[in-house]
Amino acid sequence: MGLDIRLPIGLMFTLIGAMLAIYGLATASEPELYHRSLGINVNLRWGLVLLAFGITMLTLFWRGRKSNGR
């Protein structure tokens, strides 16, 4: 099938991860927001995890495309 599913998965999680991480950075000085999550800035930390996952998926997509192109 013409679409490699790793592309949309990678794009979506890169986008969501980046948004969460940036929001986490911007709200790093608001401890009351993270009272719920036991004082952990989960937006920043989990945002970075999602970002890493998204980028991994994109890398796999590019590598897959390269090897198909050859």
Partner: protein
């Protein structure tokens, strides 16, 4: 339940997800040329994609909320639905059954039955399956819309129609391929959306050991949390061990199930009946690009399936542990009262006397229960009384009696919260959402919510794509419109998609309106499904099995289930034939035993009738459909460690190890 406020970022995440799934549908549309591209995705998808879709299609339909609920009610024993009730069957499907499904070139499971037996068996199976998928997706959409209403205050109708519309768009545009691709996306969304919630919950408790310790207290005295009647006590490991409580007998575990029912009823009959014959999941494997990929699909799916208890059952156990620690200020979500029951509570408490609140308690309970559960026509009393903490309710009556709780909006909300808090009937299905509310700040909240939505959508899309294929190929093409052009079937597949979604919505409204009727319908499906695996296993491994034998055997099995349910009782269910031959400690035990009896009846009847009837298919016709008449698949091209049998043995070994660790 007080509504949660979503921030801008939460909505943005939700929106990004919706845009991506719809975009996938639109991109894939370009590649659709024939009805088989639309309905069976032209058999072109790699194994890891079909594998994750396989698990995601199953993960939808109430699995997420339902398993967390069971985790709370029964603890670690719920893992049997995974380690006993799924993995062995998935390995069996891959190693033994997939070659026939894929190799026979059947486009659906009912079509395989037609090739192996005859039209009658196919008709019985396809009609039952088509109706079941529609009801299943309707029930799950109803649950989703209710959840969104309770959690976010969204309008029930708007939530229902919008979610269905999103599914409609991407399935209609991209067909089965689109459903499978979005299921993979949804798989990652669900895992990555809920993992942080589980982590935070466990951390809040103080880690695994602290949770175990708290649950030991719960096991010894479950009545303290109103999980069981007063006086019931289990061994300390009842909530934290999978096997020990089961081996101690049905009276000694919260599930009320014995070992034989668990291993044979669930682990063999129900599990193999679901994983090996349900077209909803088998369809994903049949869409794989070649035989090897098709056989690896359930094996790849088995890996996450084995680990899922950490994601879906653990939250339920965390919730119970939290509720047992007063300092954590957490309650298991109370039963959601309907609007009319809340109104009854407001009126009843307002009219009570604050001077003697204790005296008002029975009256309030009666009126609220009557509004929520309905009134028994003969006695004029509520059909069933709801559970309340009597002292707590008296305190609430004392605080609010005579106050303007019907007029003052803020006061009313405050009262409703306090009133629900005294309830001891729980809505276990809300456990996972209550943890999301407790731990997720804005941002993560949007992600968790999107994960929830994704799980429901993947379930609905799974049902709809299975429905449109069975309708088009097994009902329409077989009985109504033979020999039409492929374009016509393509069109019919799309029409069936729209119809399937509309019927699901209708079923959702039906479920909302007639809760009891829905329970009966699900019960009847249970009767139909219970004996199914006997027919398949005999068909695939015994060439002498005839169409008449299979058809009548299946009927006999269904009849046996109904009769069995008619003469046994459990928790007030069953026994509708007026006589009670046996009483089970729980409906789950009744269900497992029912399946065992139905399977045996179907198996014996099919064998006997087959021996009494003439074969209608020659050995040549059954080639590729029956094990002994099919040449073994040559696997020289595949490395030994990639062969299904090797992978299957490794998976089973891992599964045994998990069972031993958490015994």
């Amino acid at each position: 339940m007080e509504n949660v406020q979503l921030g801008f970022l939460d909505y943005a995440i939700l929106l990004i997800y919706v845009v991506f799934v719809i975009a996938i549908g639109f991109v894939l549309r370009r590649y659709l040329k024939s009805s088989s591209d639309f309905l069976t995705s032209g058999r072109s998808i790699p194994a890891w994609v079909t594998g994750l879709a396989f698990i995601s299609a199953n993960l939808g339909a109430l699995e997420l909320v339902g398993m967390a609920a069971s985790g709370a009610k029964y603890g670690m024993a719920t893992c049997h639905f995974y380690w006993v009730g799924a993995i062995p069957a998935m390995v069996f499907l891959a190693v033994f059954m997939m070659p026939f499904y894929y190799g026979s070139k059947a486009r659906s499971v009912p079509e395989y039955l037609k090739m192996r037996f005859d039209e009658r068996v196919r008709a019985l199976n396809s009609v039952a399956f088509a109706v079941m998928t529609v009801f299943a997706s309707g029930i799950s959409m109803d649950a989703l819309a209710k959840l969104l209403h309770q959690l976010l205050g969204w309008n029930y109708h708007v939530a229902l129609w919008i979610c269905s519309a999103v599914v409609l768009v991407y399935v209609l545009k991209g067909g089965l391929t689109s459903a499978i691709y979005t299921e993979v996306l949804q798989f990652f969304m669900i895992v990555l959306g809920f993992a942080p919630v589980v982590y935070l919950g466990l951390r809040d408790l103080g880690g695994w050991d602290a949770m175990t310790k708290a649950l030991q207290g719960v096991s010894v005295n479950p009545a303290a949390l109103h999980l069981k009647e007063a006086g019931v006590s289990y061994a300390p490991d009842a909530w934290t061990s999978a096997w020990q409580p089961l081996l101690a007998g049905p009276k000694n575990n919260p599930m009320g199930v014995d070992c034989f029912a668990m291993v044979f009823g669930l682990g063999f009959v129900l599990s193999f009946g679901y994983w090996c014959t349900n077209f909803l999941v088998v369809q994903r494997a049949m869409a794989a690009r070649n035989m090897g990929a098709a056989r690896r699909t359930p094996l790849i799916a088995a890996v996450p399936k084995m680990l899922f208890p950490a994601l879906v059952i653990l939250p339920g156990m965390i919730a119970v542990a939290l509720a047992s620690m007063p300092a954590k200020n957490y309650r298991i979500p109370p039963l959601a009262l309907e609007e009319k029951a809340i109104a009854a509570a407001v009126a009843a408490v307002k009219e009570s006397s604050s001077a003697d609140p204790q005296a008002g308690v029975p009256e309030v309970i009666e009126r609220v229960s009557a509004a929520q559960k309905g009134v028994n026509k003969e006695t004029g009393k509520a059909k069933k009384l709801l559970g309340f903490d009597q002292a707590g309710l008296a305190a609430v009556i004392k605080a609010y009696a005579g106050k303007p709780i019907d007029a003052d909006k803020a006061l009313r909300a405050e009262f409703v919260a306090a009133f629900s808090n005294t309830m001891t009937d729980y809505e276990f299905n809300n456990v996972i959402v209550s943890l999301v509310r407790k731990y997720c700040p804005s941002g993560l909240l949007g992600l968790a919510l999107t994960a929830l939505l994704a799980s429901f959508m993947s379930g609905m899309a799974g049902n709809v794509t299975a429905f449109n294929t069975v309708w088009t190929y097994d009902l329409y093409q077989a009985y109504m419109g033979r020999n039409k052009t492929d374009q016509h079937y393509f069109w019919m597949g799309q029409a069936a998609t729209v119809a399937g979604i509309l019927l699901s919505i209708a079923c959702a409204y039906f479920a909302k309106q007639y809760n009891n009727a829905m329970d009966i319908i699900q019960l009847v499906f249970g009767f139909v499904n219970a004996p199914l695996f006997a027919t398949f296993v005999l068909g695939m491994f015994w060439s002498r099995c005839t169409g008449t034998g299979a058809f009548l055997g299946l009927f006999g099995g269904i009849l046996t289930s109904a009769l069995f349910h008619g003469v046994t009782v459990a928790e007030g269910k069953g026994g509708w034939l007026g006589m009670q031959a046996y009483s089970f400690p729980s409906t789950m035990a009744q269900n497992f035993w029912l399946a065992s009896f139905a399977f045996i009846a179907c198996f014996v009847l099919t064998v006997v009738i087959s021996l009494l009837t003439q074969r209608t298919k020659t050995n040549e016709e059954l080639k590729g459909l029956v094990y002994s008449l099919t040449p073994k698949i040559k696997e020289e091209g595949t490395a030994w460690y990639l062969r299904p049998a090797t992978l299957g043995i490794v998976l089973l070994a891992c599964c045994v190890v998990l069972n031993l660790i958490f015994r």
